[in-house]
Symmetry: C2
Subunit: 417 residues, 2 copies
């Protein structure tokens, strides 16, 4: 009589698993891209303002530049008449200082003439030939932007590790950066295992199901603005799997597999990861779904062996692959983590959890807070909850969670942002 | 004496402006795309489950399928011995009904043999040759998924207008949809106007600034997962602008312009929109920034004349262009709108607002709520606040807003989701 040979695995908390992954993120690899392709990338340089903004005193509206002291006694009955000495199109300048009794017509953004200190808006302007009639006083500084009031020369605007938002792209253009140094994106591969898997265009037969994980994971990668190479379905054959993983590793920085992680002897991923030279970072989690998630590191590349269950693979991507990919691009680990926000449980969840869980759920806003609930009976193999969920609720192990408990919640990308 | 000819414009609330835009969204145009490219698109069909899921009773773990009544008296001292009649690889089936005293070894996902009603997990299995030794009773249904317990045949899984999330992609694959009908994305063009604009690689000269809006708007489009054709900078010349807009309209569904909307006589966008046959939906907002935003509709295409000020162009894209683009792809107008969430002001904002405002600000989570503040003195021409903001705070016109007031807030895409 003997026990089946079951690999000894030590479960670790998911926070520890994440820490081990983050510790193996290589330094970002700089690539130079045209500014027009830089949105959504991570900046690796420092952007210092090499001039002030506005670079010169500029008009904040279309109208007339004048000297406030010339019109300080103006009134509807006793208007002041100023001579319009120039009319400037956008981008033109008036190069002489403005004299007493003079005005210059100009447009929003035009350099303000020396000597002028305020602006009469075009729609308030009353013109007779080349004379401007002003019927009220104007305080100095009205609709005038001082040089440097927005940004001062020498100011640091972007730092290494900053995510390039549309606002960041705007300052890069303004400061003349037509090409920018950003972190290279990892090349990502997806490989699914399992003899029970059919392609989506194959007819169903008893005992088999259609393969959906490569599509789901490809979609998760696409939602990060990236692409992935899909290596397709590999049967549960030791040598074939080894050959496929080894050759995929010559082409990618991140290889995501699904299936083949369970403790049965047909489950080959941990062994394969070792055979390709991988150092196993963990092969068991004290966390659900995805208890048998196996992650290995080999020469600056990362192998994510996710569960074959769609729910577990989905969560595994979100909590492990995503932060790694974003940190690989140059985001700091703190910013690369999936953000969790507090939500108020709107149902009681009885304490039957041996392990902490990411439960699929739904959230909505109510009274200034996020309220959330789980989607009822669930399993990591279910697709129905995967398609309906807009949140993952972090439920700690053990204790009952009464309605009203605050739980940390991941809000999922259910619509574009 | 005469007043300058200033176009008469009637300001409308931004909600009304948005309603006019939404009323002109054409019905979505179906295109068929491969499933691997469908993430982030809007589904135009209905997905009905044409079989149940699981399609058959399946094992929820690696182990041994058996009959619970065979082991109901098993104990550590009086184990029950079952004969292992088959060992099934993934995807294989056992075609005879399981007899009394029999067990089948199988893997997660394998079809459960007829007659078996529970599972002993592999790691709990004690095997002697072809005999399984069971030392405790097992309740029926343990680690067994019933056919249809996830999804029932005939269930509606996706409806027209649903956003294709990774979870949606997963069910599409499972139900064999290798090509899916989605809404066509609009072709988007960007055209900036202004004689004062230099290209980002040109040296600065007095009176001019570098053009940044086409890059910023291109980045905003890119953050929606789309591309835009950039028509570059067009000088403030009536005929040239007309020719460029007219020819751009032959290539795009959405044309975004910046600049040229102010009331001065160099400001040509409203006139140009009329000349190309556009019906002006509005040319003045009772709202800041972007009071002079001008939007026109021509033969199923939309012309968005945004302000030349980067802050106003940024907001204009977010509140008008973005919902139009998403609704064009097939999202319902409600889901296409930029979501606003309640935030608690952490500063007092004195009531000096003649119009409602989207103020650039920063938000963070605190005590289960979002707290937010504005970024100090601001102008729609400022870039410094554009690069630092992670939120837009909706401040109603007029009244003082004491600290603690709840304001509707847009959370901006400052990191990937």
């Amino acid at each position: 009589m003997y026990l089946l040979p079951v690999t000894e695995r030590t479960p670790i908390p998911y926070e520890e698993a994440l820490a081990r992954i983050v510790a193996h993120v290589p330094p970002p690899k700089p690539v130079e891209v045209p500014l027009a392709e830089a949105a959504g990338r991570v900046f690796l340089d420092t952007l210092v303002a090499d001039f002030s903004l506005p670079p010169f005193r500029r008009a904040g509206a279309d109208g007339f530049a004048l000297r406030s002291r010339d019109v300080e006694k103006a009134s509807p009955d006793r208007p002041v008449r100023l001579r319009i000495v120039a009319e400037l199109a956008a981008g033109r300048t008036y190069d002489a200082p403005l004299g007493a009794g003079e005005a210059v017509r100009l447009m929003t953004g035009t350099a303000f003439p020396e000597g002028a200190d305020t602006l009469l808006r075009l729609e308030d302007g009353e013109v007779e030939g080349d004379t401007l009639v002003v019927r009220r006083p104007l305080p100095p500084g009205r609709d005038v932007f001082e040089a440097g009031e927005d940004i001062r020369q020498g100011e640091v605007l972007l730092r290494p590790g900053d995510f390039l938002t549309p606002g960041a792209i705007s300052v890069l253009a303004t400061f003349g950066r037509t090409r920018v140094r950003v972190g290279r994106r990892p090349r990502i591969g997806i490989l699914v295992t399992g003899d029970e898997l059919l392609a989506p265009d194959e007819p169903l037969v008893l005992g088999k199901i259609r393969e959906s994980n490569s599509f789901m994971l490809g979609a998760q990668v696409a939602m990060l603005g990236m692409g992935a190479h899909v290596y397709g379905v590999v049967p549960d054959e030791r040598e074939l799997l080894y050959a496929r993983v080894r050759s995929a590793l010559e082409e990618v920085d991140v290889l995501i597999t699904t299936g083949g992680v369970a403790v049965g002897d047909y489950d080959l991923i941990p062994e394969t990861f070792r055979r390709v030279g991988g150092e196993i970072l963990f092969d068991r989690l004290a966390f659900r779904p995805g208890q048998l998630t196996t992650v290995a590191h080999v020469d600056g590349r990362m192998l994510f062996g996710l569960s074959g269950n769609p729910g577990a693979a989905f969560v595994g991507f979100y909590i492990f692959v995503r932060p790694y990919v974003l940190a690989y691009m140059g985001l700091s680990p703190e910013r690369a983590l999936h953000p969790r926000v507090p939500a108020v449980l709107e149902e009681a969840i009885p304490g039957r959890r041996r392990l902490p869980v990411y439960a699929r759920g739904c959230y909505r806003w109510e009274g200034g807070r996020i309220v959330a609930r789980t989607l009822g009976p669930d399993s990591s193999s279910y697709l129905s909850t995967l398609v309906r969920a807009n949140a993952l609720l972090y439920l700690p192990a053990g204790e009952d969670l009464p309605a009203g408990t605050e739980v940390e919640t991941v809000l999922l990308d259910v619509a574009p942002h």
